[in-house]
Symmetry: C2
Subunit: 790 residues, 2 copies
């Protein structure tokens, strides 16, 4: 799979794996500070209740307990509510009411974690239970209890209305359309479930006034801004250090009440305070994703030409609108709901509501709701195919955007940068042997084979690399990323970037970018990230933006270094800069290639050996800020083949063909690893995962016994292919790939299962397609041979 170290782009082993495979990664929970104390959180057993009293006296009396902090303590400090990245506020510790099961009520600081946990049992809270809103579809009813009565004048559970597209044009098309199909569907509430839970270690130094917070965050600089807002400290007195992170998937962008509690605990006790979530806390209380009730409609011609799409969404954000949302688009990048197709017009409305569930809306590997949008449109395409009796591949091929349409402006005004969609779908079909698969399916159906074979497709376009100011900001801050490159006297380099790896291999990929641009070995480039004191400002890693934005900054800053090196080389070689040409790693005289200097020689000279011309500074260091002119639009075609056992409802994913086009691939091995992970993730969502609640808001299982993650057993041997359509506006033509497979795969799996179930006349069933859900769906339904199209 890997070759020897290249000079730049290409397959190479991940540099960070040297420590990971030896168990030498350093995660927040590995950080030990002298005199460190430990915190634990008391959580609400009710989904909605008034707090009548909190008695902490017994807990405070427990030997080893250093402090017990309640909402009242925090209110006294003006810290009871914290800002969220979505311009909402969230209770740090509940004061008046609890609003979801698992909400934070009190925080114990003790000498060790065991004492802190024991002390929780000694806190007496008197609750008066209240009626709750669990199903978002009831949230806006007249009789619904008002969840966020803490917000000034708030009399209902409505958060926002957002729409995009041309309503009148869309309605007009629908009125005269030959074919109209409509489908309700739910993208269920799911959880990013990272390997490492959340947590924070806070250390406030009363003497210097400096607060250091170690926490696993995808966005250290955004965390610093939020802590500054929470703690009232200026940013330069706050250092956020994010060491190794065991997965983020969007769940580690925002801050959580426990982080603030650790900070307050450190301020109150004068000692470092560590708080780490356990698994059930993570699954119960940490922000969730999806929970979109969607109605999608397609208007088309009889021969399958899609003309318009119309969408209505009810978005359940839980009790607090807690996580990263682009402030300009409360429904995020759901904007691209018209998918990868050449559609005349489209219109979409999203309404956000509060419910008595843990905060939702996390951008879980989805570039802010693109997962929901892609699932919706890809499911709708299959519903249309079902109704038209067309092959879903044929329907897609007929409607996909053509290469000559790029750059393409979508019905909602977004500009897709580049693509050749039919080529990518054709490659996937060729790799899958699509026609042979359909033939096999027809033959098996004809033979009455009990194992139901299904073939599912999806074609996705993502909008990633947030992004230009016109598309989003967070906390009023734009999305430009800084990069700094320092070149040592011997030509070894250190790159500092604002984005933060949670396992994506930045230390390797970014080193390869610098190596490629500078003509040195990636081994000679160290990458620093995850420490706000060490790195330039930028808003972090999510929405697949590391390579599109920070990666671009890395390339640009390296080019600046190269330009500086040119001036030094000019002094060294005593020729005009214009007479020099760059060949990998070396400036040499045009027409006299032997007369030149390597970047290492130039680096040394720039540190002392050469008199530089007036106005030319020494050294080769440079900084750069990259403000992307547009998003990048990776895309791909996925084909999934399943076998369903109608007796048990069990789905066996037999094959999965994924052709991704993410532009230029810096390290194909890492790209493929990202895709593998996302595909597995998609199988999990399609077939297994649901964060379920009973009608009182009780969480039905916050453990991996109930919330299932796919393992190697559920995954086939992935079949990957690629096309390469560079992004025209990105310095190295890369588009980002971190979320592609998570975005694209659920629809392919669901479409495959529903294709298998087609003989039963089943057009749609909601995720997760667990064995029991599948089994229930087909009960009492005879096989309908009239639907068994090839």
């Amino acid at each position: 799979m890997t070759t020897s170290t290249p000079m730049g782009f290409g397959r190479m082993h991940r540099k960070e794996d040297a420590r990971f495979i030896r168990g030498r990664g350093q995660y927040v929970d590995d950080v030990q500070l002298p005199g460190m104390l430990h915190g634990a959180i008391l959580r609400s057993p009710h989904a909605h209740a008034r707090i009548l009293s909190v008695d902490t006296s017994a807990a405070e009396a427990l030997p080893g307990v250093k402090a017990v902090i309640t909402g009242e303590t925090l209110a006294g400090l003006g810290l009871a509510w914290m800002p969220t990245l979505s311009k909402d506020v969230q209770a740090v510790l509940a004061t008046d009411k609890v609003r979801f099961q698992g909400q934070e009520v009190a925080f114990v600081v003790a000498e060790d974690r065991y004492i802190a946990r024991d002390a929780l049992e000694l806190i007496e809270v008197d609750y008066e239970p209240l009626p709750s809103v669990i199903d978002a579809r009831t949230a806006l009813a007249e009789a619904a209890p008002v969840i966020r009565d803490d917000l000034d004048g708030k009399k209902d559970n409505h958060i926002f209305d957002w729409e995009a597209g041309d309503r009148a044009h869309t309605e007009a098309i629908f009125e005269r359309a030959e074919v109209r199909v409509s489908q309700d569907m739910l993208y269920p509430r799911v959880h990013p479930a990272p390997l490492e839970t959340c947590g924070a270690l806070a250390d406030f130094d009363k003497v210097t006034g400096k607060l250091t917070v170690w926490c696993p965050t995808q966005a250290p600089h955004a965390h610093r801004t939020l802590y500054a807002m929470v703690a009232g400290l200026p940013e330069h007195k706050i250092r956020v250090i994010s060491p190794d992170i065991g997965g983020g998937f969007g769940g580690k962008v925002g801050i959580y009440p426990g982080y603030v509690c650790a900070i307050v605990g450190s301020i109150v006790t004068g000692k470092p305070v560590k708080w780490m979530e356990d698994r059930s806390e993570n699954l119960m209380s940490t922000a969730f994703a999806r929970d979109y009730h969607m109605t999608g409609e397609i208007a088309a011609t009889q021969d399958g030409r899609v003309q318009a799409i119309r969408v209505k969404v009810l978005a359940d954000h839980g009790a607090f609108n807690g996580t990263a949302q682009p402030t300009k688009f409360p429904a995020g990048f759901f904007h691209v709901f018209s998918g990868s197709y050449d559609i005349e017009t489209a219109h979409c409305e999203v309404t956000g509501v509060y419910s008595n569930k843990a905060p939702g809306g996390v951008a879980y590997a989805c570039s802010f709701r693109i997962t929901e949008a892609v699932y919706l449109v890809e499911r709708l395409m299959d519903v249309l195919a079902y109704e038209l009796g067309m092959d879903p591949a044929e329907l897609r091929m007929k409607n996909l955007l053509r290469a000559d349409q790029f750059p393409y402006t979508s019905p909602t005004g977004w500009e897709y940068d580049s693509g050749d969609y039919p080529r990518t779908l054709a490659l996937a079909m060729e790799m899958a042997g699509y026609d042979k698969l359909r033939a096999e399916q027809a033959e098996r159906r004809a033979n009455g084979d009990r194992r139901l074979m299904g073939i599912g497709l999806s074609f996705f376009t993502e909008a990633v690399g947030a992004g230009p100011r016109k598309h989003m900001d967070i906390l009023g801050l734009g999305m430009a990323d800084g990069a700094e490159l320092r070149v040592h006297p011997t030509g070894k380099a250190v790159l500092r970037v604002s984005c933060q790896s949670q396992g994506q291999g930045h230390e390797t990929t970014f080193a390869q970018i610098v190596a490629e641009e500078l003509g040195i070995s990636p081994d000679d480039v160290d990458v620093v990230h995850g420490d706000t004191d060490q790195t330039p400002f930028g808003l972090g890693t999510y929405g697949s933006r590391s390579t599109p934005v920070s990666g671009a900054a890395a390339a640009m800053v390296t080019r600046k270094v190269r330009d500086r090196a040119k001036l030094v080389a000019s002094a060294m070689l005593e020729v005009a800069p214009d007479d020099l040409e760059w060949t990998k790693g070396r400036w040499s005289v045009k027409g006299d290639p032997k007369h030149g200097a390597t970047i290492q020689e130039i680096a040394l000279a720039s540190h002392g050996a050469v008199e530089l011309p007036e106005g030319v500074e020494g050294h080769l260091d440079a900084t750069c800020v990259y403000n992307p002119p547009n998003l990048t639009y990776p895309f791909g075609a996925y084909i999934c083949v399943v076998d369903v056992d109608p007796d048990t409802g069990q789905v066996d994913v037999r094959r999965f063909i994924a052709v991704d086009d993410c532009g230029v691939r810096i390290n194909p091995m890492i790209v493929e690893g990202q895709i593998h992970g996302g595909l597995a993730d998609g199988i999990g969502m399609a077939l297994m995962q649901l964060m379920a609640f009973d009608e009182d808001g009780n969480h039905l299982g916050a453990s991996f016994m109930d919330y299932l993650l796919p393992t190697a057993v559920e995954c086939p041997s992935w079949e990957l292919g690629e096309t390469v359509t560079p992004s025209p506006h990105h310095p190295i033509g890369a588009k980002g790939v971190g979320e592609s497979a998570t975005v694209g795969s659920p629809a392919a799996v669901v479409n495959a299962v529903l294709d298998a179930l087609k003989p039963y006349g089943i057009r749609h069933a909601d995720m997760p397609l667990t064995p029991s859900n599948v089994w229930r769906a087909i009960q009492g339904r005879p096989i309908r041979t009239d639907l068994a199209i090839t």
Copy 2:
């Protein structure tokens, strides 16, 4: 003494003192790492001996001992010899021979420091003593033992010959001069004696291959380069962290064998290894300063016009030429030996030799030998005054360079940047009430007062701020310093500089520079230094170069930020950049001052709120490298008044008037603090300090019982004055002041004592003028009234 926080330059309390006065400074010995081991060094009892055998078996068997490292161990690793900053090599642990008393022979690594020390006692070393060279004047004798026979083909103890000036011209002047005086004098071997001794904590990570070394160093980046050379690691795999430092004074520029031992110890054991010198080790083995045997000659007219100076120096560098030396000038900045005077020509020869003493040549608060040069010329001026029967002030005033002579090219070709010397001397004389002092002296002498009153002057010119490539490089690296300024969204700033504070208050002074240039409060600027991973390249703090070089870089990088802010303000205010003007902290429209934006508003806008024109990057961060076009030349006039008790030889420093001109003063309180310290230092050297050896090379007292430091008891209440002649080529006109008083004061004190002893006909006596030395000098000498001039 202090006023409230200014917006830029001015008196303000030192920011770092908040932690120092609370005992919260963090020095190397305060750093604790999990699993840390401790090292101790076995040292040679002989000044010169052959090592016949080293038996470590008993030490290795002691429970708790983890490793015993000898020169042989190191030789096996290729690490027995380390490079020095002077292009010499120094034994890390002796292999063949020991070459000075206290030389490092073995290194024990153990669980704690006590076990390590106990184990030293168990190491058996068999030495064969050899004859030694202790007096440098015997080093070049035919019969002298060759100390450095480890060097290829080395057959004597000669290190270098260096000369400057015009020999023929000088000889011609001397031949026809009306007056010629000659004086031998010794600048004795002294020691910087910092409050914190040396030491290192090394942590080598076998998995990442990264070596982190915490050590108190004045030059973290130079240390990194040296460790790279020693350990064979590339620079980007080495991080040098210099936390708070308890004084450097030139003694913490180079590396010491213990540092390398700690590194090897960590590599061998796989654990962090800390080694900290104790006081007697520091005084016995760590690099020394001075040890210059000088012969100075002056040619003058009968009426006191100095025409030429001729100097011969024998420089004793000890057994290894260990510390920072500009590679272009092995005798460093002794170059300015013609002092502050308008002299037609001059010539100087310096010969460096090895001796069986600890490594010498440290640039102890002297800009590389300027202390010796100033002492020489100022003592010579008094000797000339003595011979001519002139008042030393009158003689100096007659010969000082005049304001209209600047920029002035010295007889050795160095260009003094700016000055008005007579004005400065006149101010000092006025402050001192010079004429009244002379009248008092005459009256007391006439009255036969037993307490001998002396008045001593010195006028010094320093060459600091190393420096331009033409003046020096170290390890082939130039002296350009980098600075990086990061501006947070709310306008708080972080400055990163390569230089390193050892107590000079960089965190305050540099914050004031940024504050002054940016129009914000120094409280809103944090300064980062002392960590090679965090700071740009530069060669550190010595030779008073922090403000002249890194300070200039700080000012220049802030101006770059201001220029970037102008472009952002132009976009915000929708006017052309040329229509904007800067008034402290604000860009506003020319002629419409209400229409403007503060730097805070611009910072926030640059991070997101504003669409920037094509080609304008976001954020305001900038980097800069400052390569000084020339050295800066601070100067000053000092007057010392002493009373000498002829019965005991005790010298009482009654008054000390110091008028310094260091150009623009950023924080006058810090400048004055620096001067206070240097003046005390000068009293110590003039009156107390000598690193003495017996003829076998045994160190005569390596403790503060024998090597005396001046205390408040020995110091008068300093009387400070200032003139301000900005450096014309420095961005803020500052010249540096860190060493001025150490350089200028010894001659003033010695001249005062010899002025007091003049009635005995004593023209010269060597430092230190301890009570016993003074007493001995005047024994058997009657008071000579013919010499009691004025």
